[in-house]
Amino acid sequence: MNCNEVQNRLSEYVEKTLDAETLKSVDDHLGFCSRCRAEAENLARTVQLVAALPKTQPPVGFTTRVMARVREVEAHASFWQRLLLPFRNTIPLQATAVVLIGILAVYMYQKEQPEKKEPLAHQNDSLPQQAEERAVPPAPPLPASPESKAGVGREAPVHDTKPQTARRQQKPSEMLRDSNEQARPAPPPPSSSPAIAGEERGGGERPKAADQLGAGVGQLQSSELAKERALRSAAPTAARSQIAAPNYDLVLRLREQQALSGQVGALREQQEADRTRAPQKSGGLIARYLPGIPRSDRPETLWLNIPQTDYDQFKKELATLGIIESERQIATRDKETTSKPDEPLRIRLTVLPARDAGQQAPAVQP
């Protein structure tokens, strides 16, 4: 062994912990190497000097002072420390904190889920209602009837299987107005209510009238549905404003068939003449403003736009066709204040077929 190898083993040599073979090698080297021998001796001395340092006793009362501080720490322990005291030595504080945070996170997550579901729940709850509103809009204010009372807001009058019953409680003019208003802007289809009224008055059924009655009922139902749709899409006042109310509501009862045929022929001739020359004031207003020859076999409602200046003459000419049973001014027009004197009057003309013999109705003087 060389000096470096020996000097690296000197601590173990001094402690006498070398194995026998290594110990012999070191002894042999130290026998002839004075420098390594001196190093070995100095190292041994150093270890001895350190080991000779006396064991120093702690001050008197050291344990008492230590325990006093321990009691202080114990007394000032926090609530959580006391709570976790039985477990503080078995469950690390960090693990406890992680568990508590996890519980809190789960709680908050579950708390948010019902809140998120509530809007959906509300939406789901409202969807059927909205669907019902679309399909079954709120019914217009109709006179109380057994059918209308039942399921208000949920049953559409269109589902009312007895529209005739509901309608019988209304005045014919109101029925006509209601049935016609919903048909705006196009001219309303022929209403069946006059037919119904005619049935009531006339008492008899004609084959064609029966079919037309059924068609009229269907038209009434469709007209009611259209009316409800119009009311649903807009405010009632706004909906009604879209259907311009007539200025005058006229009801004309045609004369007998034979008397009417002559008048009809005259009217046709007049209409033909109007195509070639300018219309004359007298005798030509009916031909000018009526869209066609009124039918004599079933009620018919016509919407006419007649200048204010021609209205009176028009009524006189109507009297040649029949009896004006009623005339009602619906909207007041002040002719003196109107900015457009030539603004036409909107006339709703209801033409009723001739009465049977023996039936009389009051006539309105034109």
Binding site: S11, R37, V50, P54, P59, V70, V73, T90
Partner: protein, 190 residues
């Protein structure tokens, strides 16, 4: 509480909330721990203060003791950490003077001259220890003063046994160099 209770049983009781079990542990290990810290610091009063802190730290962290090592090994580590923290917190520690504690010499020495010489030697050795880096001082105190086995030192310092031996030899060589004036050129004792 009976003195025959082992350290592990005391620790178990302490972990279950019996604070009195810690007093037994303090009484059993106070001299060793105090002496370790005293030789690391070289000042009696400072050693007393740091030793209290070390025991208090052991009490507070008793829940972290898993029983994988001896309680004494675990306590040694706490004490060394406190001592080294104290050494490293004071600038110029390695050059500071060490008070001569005459009351703590070997009472078996009756010759006054020898007693004075002995005190002077101890003083110089303490000064030499203080001048060493904390790691060197720690390993010398543990081995040459506390006579801690190499295996326990390895566990305490978290080092292999071979590394502990080589570091100890290097520390001893350093201390020997500081004590060279006390050695004659021919190796004779001062």
């Amino acid at each position: 509480m009976s003195e025959g209770i082992s350290d592990s049983e005391c620790v178990q009781r302490l972990q279950q909330g019996e604070t009195d079990a810690f007093e037994l542990l303090v009484r059993r290990h106070q001299t060793t721990i105090f002496n370790l810290i005293y030789r690391m610091l070289g000042d009696y009063d400072e050693a007393a203060e740091i030793a209290q802190e070390a025991f208090l730290s052991a009490y507070k962290s008793i829940g972290q003791f898993r029983g994988e090592a001896n309680f004494s090994t675990w306590l040694y580590r706490i004490a060394l950490n406190h001592a080294n923290t104290r050494r490293n917190s004071i600038a110029g520690w390695r050059q500071r003077t060490v008070p001569l504690d005459g009351d703590h010499v070997d009472e078996r020495i009756v010759d006054p001259a020898l007693l004075v010489e002995q005190r002077e030697i101890q003083h110089q050795v303490q000064i030499a220890l203080n001048s060493l880096p904390s790691d060197d001082a720690s390993i010398i105190v543990l081995k040459d003063i506390q006579d801690v086995p190499y295996e326990q030192m390895a566990t305490m310092l978290n080092l292999p046994v071979g590394t502990v031996k080589s570091r100890l030899h290097r520390a001893r060589q350093a201390l020997k160099a500081k004590l060279a004036p006390f050695f004659s050129g021919d190796g004779k004792q001062p």
